[in-house]
């Protein structure tokens, strides 16, 4: 069903729903895999929960596949850095799936310092009939063995196991903010505040530093890297965004050290909107290539911008996410909300972009029709299979019914992490410790 005709969404399921919010349950990342069959979430407690879509049954053709828990594992544990006397948080910052190449699923998960490659595999058979041990596992007395038998594989209940296959550690002094798998499926990059490191998936004890913006004199530091991503098609191209609102596209073929960019995307500042917080709100919190590789999307505090890779001096499109906050920047600075890092996401066909906002609102922008919609992810407003109602924030003057005024927005309820199914119109939205999955209305 096309997005244009009906932008309303059905709330499909409530997953990971908790009545009370424990800090460890706060979802810190969500990601669909490349087929959309699996959805992974990472939380502040270092756990990864993977959901799998139900196979659509022929008996209920109208019932679209729902997502159920497939696997849960503890990806990262809190660590203690003895030399710094610091605890390294186990919060999962990013999860990235590798495209499926065999029966097992692979994903990369990272906390502030360490990236891990996890293999998630199913086991539904086990061998029975060992010679040297009993079914319980006890060793049999060899003198009692009189005949040999061949162990036979017997079916068992499906068990999903997650094993850590690689641990990529000790390459980052600063906090890792993003990882990105290369389209060559052999390498990936991990990015912290000042550096980008290139890894081979097979080799864990060394990485190549390809971008380093750390000045020799730290007094001159005015810019940090906020996100980086590989181009979806070209294995030699990647982009990284900065806290000053610029994006640099780098080609790894040009030099081993990609400190010099190929392209530099930055929009000149509009002097009429200049304020004390201009720089802070221009800091890019997320950068995403479109699926077709022609565009880049960036999210700063108040806007989402779509850039054409061929045009560096200004974005192709700019969408205001919550411009009504422009007059509130001072208060948002006080309560630190101005530092929130929102993510943005493309749909499968690159025609719609989505990003989160406050009060559990999230916004979708249709690039073709230029329509946009604000939806809310909350329990009260979404019953299963109910259609989401568009929300509206009124800026001033009279408030119509069902509108919310800017002052009533709840700034503690923010939607920072969202993801879109690669082929269908199914979205997953993380609202603090709750995960909402919405899909398109079906006639």
């Amino acid at each position: 069903m096309e997005e244009e005709s009906d932008s309303r969404k059905i709330n499909n399921s409530f997953l990971r729903d908790h009545n009370y919010a424990t800090e460890a349950d706060i979802i810190s990342t969500v990601e669909f895999n490349s087929s959309g069959e699996l959805l992974a979430t990472g939380d502040k407690g270092g756990r990864v929960v993977v959901f799998q879509r139900e196979q659509e049954s022929k008996s209920q053709p109208n019932r679209r596949g729902e997502y159920n828990v497939y696997s849960t594992f503890q990806s990262h544990e809190p660590e203690f850095d003895y030399l710094k006397s610091l605890e390294i948080e186990e919060k999962i910052n990013k999860i990235k799936w590798l495209p499926q190449q065999n029966a097992a699923y692979f994903l990369l998960s990272t906390n502030d310092k360490t990236v891990k490659l996890w293999k998630i595999s199913e086991r539904d058979k086990r061998p029975e009939g060992y010679n040297l041990k009993d079914e319980d596992g006890r060793i049999r007395d060899p003198s009692t063995i009189t005949s040999l038998r061949v162990p036979v594989l017997q079916p068992m209940d499906l068990m999903v196991e997650a094993t850590a296959r690689r641990v990529f550690s000790n390459a980052h002094t600063y906090h890792i903010n993003s990882i990105s798998v290369n389209s060559d499926l052999q390498t990936f990059i991990s990015t912290d505040d000042l550096r980008v490191n290139l890894w081979n998936l097979e080799i864990t004890d060394r990485s190549f530093n390809i971008v380093d913006i750390k000045p020799s004199n730290m007094e001159e530091l005015t810019e940090v890297i906020t996100s980086a991503e590989f181009h979806p098609r070209q294995c030699h191209t990647f982009a990284y965004s900065s806290s000053k609102g610029s994006i640099r596209l780098c080609d790894m073929r040009q030099a081993a050290l990609c400190d010099r960019h190929c392209k530099y995307f930055e929009e000149p500042e509009d002097p009429s909107t200049r304020s004390f917080f201009s720089e802070i709100i221009s800091s890019i919190s997320d950068v995403k290539f479109s699926h077709n590789g022609r565009y880049l999307m960036t999210r700063d505090y108040l806007t989402v911008k779509v850039w054409d890779l061929q045009m560096e001096n200004k974005p192709l499109e700019t969408y205001q996410v919550h411009d009504y906050l422009r007059g509130k920047l001072c208060s948002l600075y006080e309560n630190d909300c101005i530092f929130d890092k929102f993510e943005c996401v493309w749909n499968g066909s690159d025609s719609v972009i989505m990003t989160g906002s406050y009060n559990n609102f999230f916004r979708m922008f249709d690039r073709n029709t230029k329509r946009d919609v604000t939806l809310e992810a909350s329990r009260e407003n979404s019953k299963p299979r109910a259609i989401l109602k568009p929300r509206k924030v009124c800026v001033g003057g009279k408030r119509r019914k069902d509108e919310i005024s800017v002052d009533s927005l709840d700034f503690s309820k923010k939607i920072l992490h969202t993801t879109w199914h690669p082929h269908e119109n199914i979205i997953a939205v993380a609202a603090t410790n709750n995960l909402y999955i919405f899909q398109d209305k079906v006639n």
Binding site: Y82, L83, N170, S216, P271, F276, I280, D407, S408
Partner: protein, 344 residues
């Protein structure tokens, strides 16, 4: 609901940023400046401050101070003022240097009774910065500030130093230096040759010694400036603690558990596969980011630690919390100012 931490007469959001002569802009500027300083300091007190956040706040501070100094002198000089008129126009292009506090044109918002201009505006700003919480930025801004006594305000403000060495940006940069002084490898960084891979950030213990020196240099520099500005504060309730005057580099480390600097232990840690970067951040905790330690008129009970990082490093006998308060600006200076700063 956004809680507004400050009572304001006008909504500062409505003020245009470009309208510099507007007292509302000035009050918002001061407010944002003080909040930023506060934020920065609190951020530094965390065990692991967020680099992005620190950089953004520092840039905001730097930007505000640049705008402050570049604003044209518009206000007239009050007739009874003993201040010299607006002094030479800043010739320097906007850069990291903020030469002086000379030519601030904006009015003092907090003191509505007298339209003190130029230096006085600046000094009121400084006082409000005292209020915000002392840190190195304030110190260096006021590096040669005279005591703000009751009777001689104008004279003292006039004599405010225009020493170019003391700039806010230098303060900020020293903050950033201390922030990262020993997170990383030594300043003589390994030459990054193409295709040279980092083998899990192997470190040598001599690197840590280098960082120590670098960090100490920065700190000692700050101490000198701090000392200098304190010399002139004979009217203030300055407590000359032995902490700052007799302090030596060795004293810095005297209470440190040097067993952690033990080479064997470092190698041992590496050997067991934990692979922590060796000793690179140790000095970060030994060095203050800003020798701030004042109470203020508004945060009078808050004893801002001069060396917050000490406390995070383990059992140390000298407690930074015992650092006496340096400044207590008398309330008679700004009778009308009642800015309540949010304690974020």
């Amino acid at each position: 609901m956004i809680t507004k931490g400050q009572k304001r007469k006008y909504s500062p959001e409505e003020v245009e940023a470009t309208d510099r002569s507007n007292p509302i802009w000035e009050s918002q500027r001061q407010f944002v400046f003080s909040v930023s300083l506060n934020k920065y300091q609190r951020g530094q007190e965390l065990p692991e401050p967020s680099l992005r956040r620190s950089v953004l706040i520092a840039n905001t501070l730097r930007q505000m101070s640049l705008e402050f100094c570049n604003a044209p002198a518009e206000d007239e000089v009050p007739p009874d003022s003993s201040l010299s008129g607006p002094e030479e126009v800043q010739q320097e292009s906007p850069s990291n240097k903020i030469p002086s506090a000379k030519h601030h044109p904006a009015q003092v918002v907090t003191n509505s009774s007298s339209a003190l201009t130029t230096c006085s505006g600046v000094s009121s700003l400084h006082s409000s910065h005292y209020a915000a919480g002392r840190n190195l930025a304030n110190c260096q801004w006021n590096s040669s500030t005279v005591p703000l006594s009751n009777g001689d305000e104008d004279e003292e403000w006039e004599s405010m130093s225009t020493d170019g060495d003391f700039s806010l940006s230098a303060a900020i940069s020293s903050i950033l230096t201390a922030l990262d002084s020993n997170i990383e490898e030594s300043p003589q960084a390994v030459q990054r040759t193409p295709f040279q891979s980092l083998e899990n950030l192997s470190r040598s213990s001599e690197g840590s010694a280098t960082w120590v020196k670098q960090g100490v240099r920065g700190f000692v520099g700050n101490l000198e400036e701090w000392d200098e500005c304190r010399v002139r504060e004979n009217q203030m309730e300055v407590t000359r603690s032995a902490y700052l005057t007799d302090f030596t580099v060795e004293d810095l480390f005297q209470d440190i558990d040097t067993s952690l600097l033990d080479k064997d232990k470092l190698f041992g840690l590496r050997g067991c596969g934990v692979g922590h970067p060796a000793g690179d951040d140790l000095p970060r905790y030994l060095l203050p980011i800003s020798p701030s330690a004042s109470s203020s008129q508004y945060l009078s009970n808050q004893n801002l630690k001069c060396l917050p990082s000490f406390s995070s490093f383990g059992p140390l006998s000298s407690s930074p919390a015992s650092l006496p308060t340096i400044f207590s600006p008398s309330s008679s200076l700004f009778p009308d100012s009642r800015v309540v700063l949010p304690l974020t």
